[in-house]
């Protein structure tokens, strides 16, 4: 294995910071060259230009279907890329799919060369995914807080009550209707926007 040329890996990740983090982790895990593709327009062509041994992409990335075109490239000089899972080392592949990584690997690459790459990628992608979920949740919570504040303001003005009473009224309405406070607040803000 020591004599072999370094593995060429392409990582498709639209977030530049995360892409760099994944690239660094892969480089430190072994002898490989990592190319990162951030802009996914014309994805198949960009990947083909690198002629990589392995392509890694987040399972949830909708642009993944563009990669399927690579498996159809039939010219003698084009490198056949198959999804890793279709190859011999089935167990590894299943782990990758379940962890949310899609790996496309050139046919005939030895499993012992692929394993450290996949292991590293799985760990890194999982971390990225968790951060992304947390970020989305934080953002949503902030947006909901803003809407609830506006709804409270509307109730205070319309009913001549204080902030706490306004919130209690919103909460009671939500409970009576079996809805979330944020949803009731949003309905109120929308309705008042229409009427103003």
């Amino acid at each position: 294995m020591g004599m072999s040329t370094p593995l060429s890996i392409v990582v498709v990740e639209e977030d530049r910071d995360r892409a760099i983090a994944i690239g660094d982790a892969l480089r430190s895990s072994g002898d490989c060259e990592v190319h990162v593709i951030v802009d996914t327009s014309g994805l198949a062509r960009k990947i083909a230009a690198h002629a990589p041994d392995i392509v890694l992409i987040d399972y949830d990335n909708p642009t993944r279907d563009m990669l399927e075109e690579l498996t159809l490239a039939s010219g003698p000089l084009e490198r056949p890329v198959a999804m890793f899972v279709s190859g011999a080392a089935g167990g590894l592949a299943q782990a990758a799919v379940e962890a949310g990584v899609s790996a496309y690997v050139v046919d005939g690459l030895r499993p012992e060369r692929i394993k450290p790459v996949i292991d590293t990628a799985v760990a890194r992608f999982q971390m990225v995914r968790q951060m992304r979920t947390e970020l989305a949740e934080t953002r949503r919570a902030l947006e909901e807080r803003k809407v609830i504040d506006r709804a409270k303001g509307l109730v205070m003005k319309a009913k001549g009550v204080n902030e706490e009473q306004a919130y209690m009224l919103l909460r009671k309405t939500a409970m009576d209707q079996g809805r979330r406070v944020a949803d009731v607040a949003e309905a109120l803000v929308t309705a008042s926007g229409l009427l103003s």
Partner: protein
């Protein structure tokens, strides 16, 4: 009876309706099952989830399991297409630039004549026409190639490129595609965002094309026949509901929810009624039965439909015709469809294959109960596909 759960992956599209309705309206429950519906971000992930056992069933593009059986693409787990979920439903459209060139020629956007549309499009094209499709193995690609091959539209140079449906409007806007073929609501979304105009419904090319199938792993079909039959019956009853005109309003509302398609019900309604707004000018065109969920034995997986797909793939990838058709026919499991639906009131055709493209008018055919009428299944060029015999 204990409720058994079956996980089903789907792509958020109008034609996922029979699966969603089977769960939402209690057709699954009546069979003692629950469908755990998993929305997928891409067709590749639907395929992988099914192939590697994360789900037990899936909404798939009809050519996908056939291509997998032929060893094409990146995953080749044996799958069984146990029923057709819908016939037709695709939409071909063009960018605003191409639309303008077509109008400048005096083209009237008749929304029906595939040959005239191809001729007008060839005249409006300078250089290469790039067409976006959702997946390399799809009815979209097969219909486009069939249309291009038999009209000479391929002459100006055609590039067919994969673009995920939710990104199709963006690709039109940034000029990376000139045209598209995509399932609804994404064609209407492009019109609504004023980046494209609709040219032809897919059925203008083939009037009864099997669009999506309900697929399971072949191994799972063997080990879980009882669960499979229950799911097939539930989905079949949901399809019968979905096909009724009086169901449309409820269906559009159901699909529009954030958990499913998350687009306005009014856009979904266009595909269900066949009444489309085709351009930013607001002109309307109607097509009868844009997507067929049930009528004319739409759910029956004809072995000849699979052979047509196999034949087209063999043509495109240089495979042996007879062998490709035989392999393809084995994927569309009319035997399982008959077994699941024999005592449900379903009228099953006597044969499991037919000439594709030979039915020019609604036609009564030999069937279990004697009341089956097949819908026209013609190709725009009048050709008839005669499936090869299996040795």
């Amino acid at each position: 009876m204990k409720t058994l759960s079956i996980s089903v992956a789907y792509m958020p599209l109008v034609d996922a309706l029979p699966l969603i309705a089977a769960q939402e309206l209690g057709f699954a429950e009546a069979e003692g099952i629950a469908l755990d519906l998993v929305a997928a971000p891409s067709w590749s992930s639907v395929r992988d989830m099914l192939s590697f056992g994360r789900v037990d069933a899936a909404h798939l593009l009809s050519p996908m399991p056939v291509a997998m059986a032929l060893g094409l693409g990146s995953v080749t787990t044996p799958l069984a297409a146990v029923s057709v979920l819908s016939a037709n439903g695709n939409m071909i459209g063009v960018s605003r630039t191409v639309e303008q060139r077509l109008r400048d020629q005096g083209y009237g956007f008749d929304f029906g004549d595939a040959r005239a549309a191809a001729q007008a499009l060839a005249k409006a094209t300078e250089g290469t026409l790039t067409i976006g499709v959702p997946f390399p193995f799809s009815m979209h690609v097969e219909l486009l190639n069939y249309w291009l091959d038999s009209t000479g539209l391929s002459d100006p140079g055609i590039e067919i490129r994969t673009v995920p449906p939710p990104l199709m409007a963006q690709a039109l806007r940034d000029g990376s595609i000139d045209a598209f073929c995509v399932g609804e609501p994404w064609g209407s979304v492009a019109v609504e965002q004023e980046v494209g105009a609709l040219l032809l419904p897919g059925k203008a090319i083939w009037s009864f094309a099997p669009e999506k199938v309900l697929a399971v792993r072949s191994g799972w079909a063997e080990t879980e026949p009882e669960l499979l039959m229950r799911m097939m019956r539930a989905v079949w009853r949901a399809a019968r509901w979905a096909a009724r005109p009086e169901s449309r309003t409820a269906a559009a509302e159901m699909l529009s929810r954030p958990g499913y398609l998350d687009v306005p019900a009014e856009l979904i309604d266009r595909a269900l009624t066949g009444q489309f707004i085709i351009s930013g000018r607001g002109d309307q065109r109607n097509t009868d039965g844009h997507v067929d969920f049930f009528d004319g034995a739409a759910n029956f997986p004809w072995r000849s439909q699979a052979k047509w797909i196999g034949s087209r793939l063999a043509h495109r990838f240089g495979l042996d015709q007879r062998q490709a058709q035989a392999t393809a026919a084995g994927v569309f499991r009319s035997d399982l469809f008959r077994a699941a639906l024999q005592n449900t009131g379903a009228d099953l055709p006597g044969a499991s294959q037919k000439l594709e493209g030979a039915i020019r008018h609604p036609t009564a055919v030999a069937s279990l109960k004697g009341g089956l009428i097949l819908k026209p299944d013609t190709f725009f060029d009048g050709q008839v596909f005669e499936p090869l015999d299996e040795k």
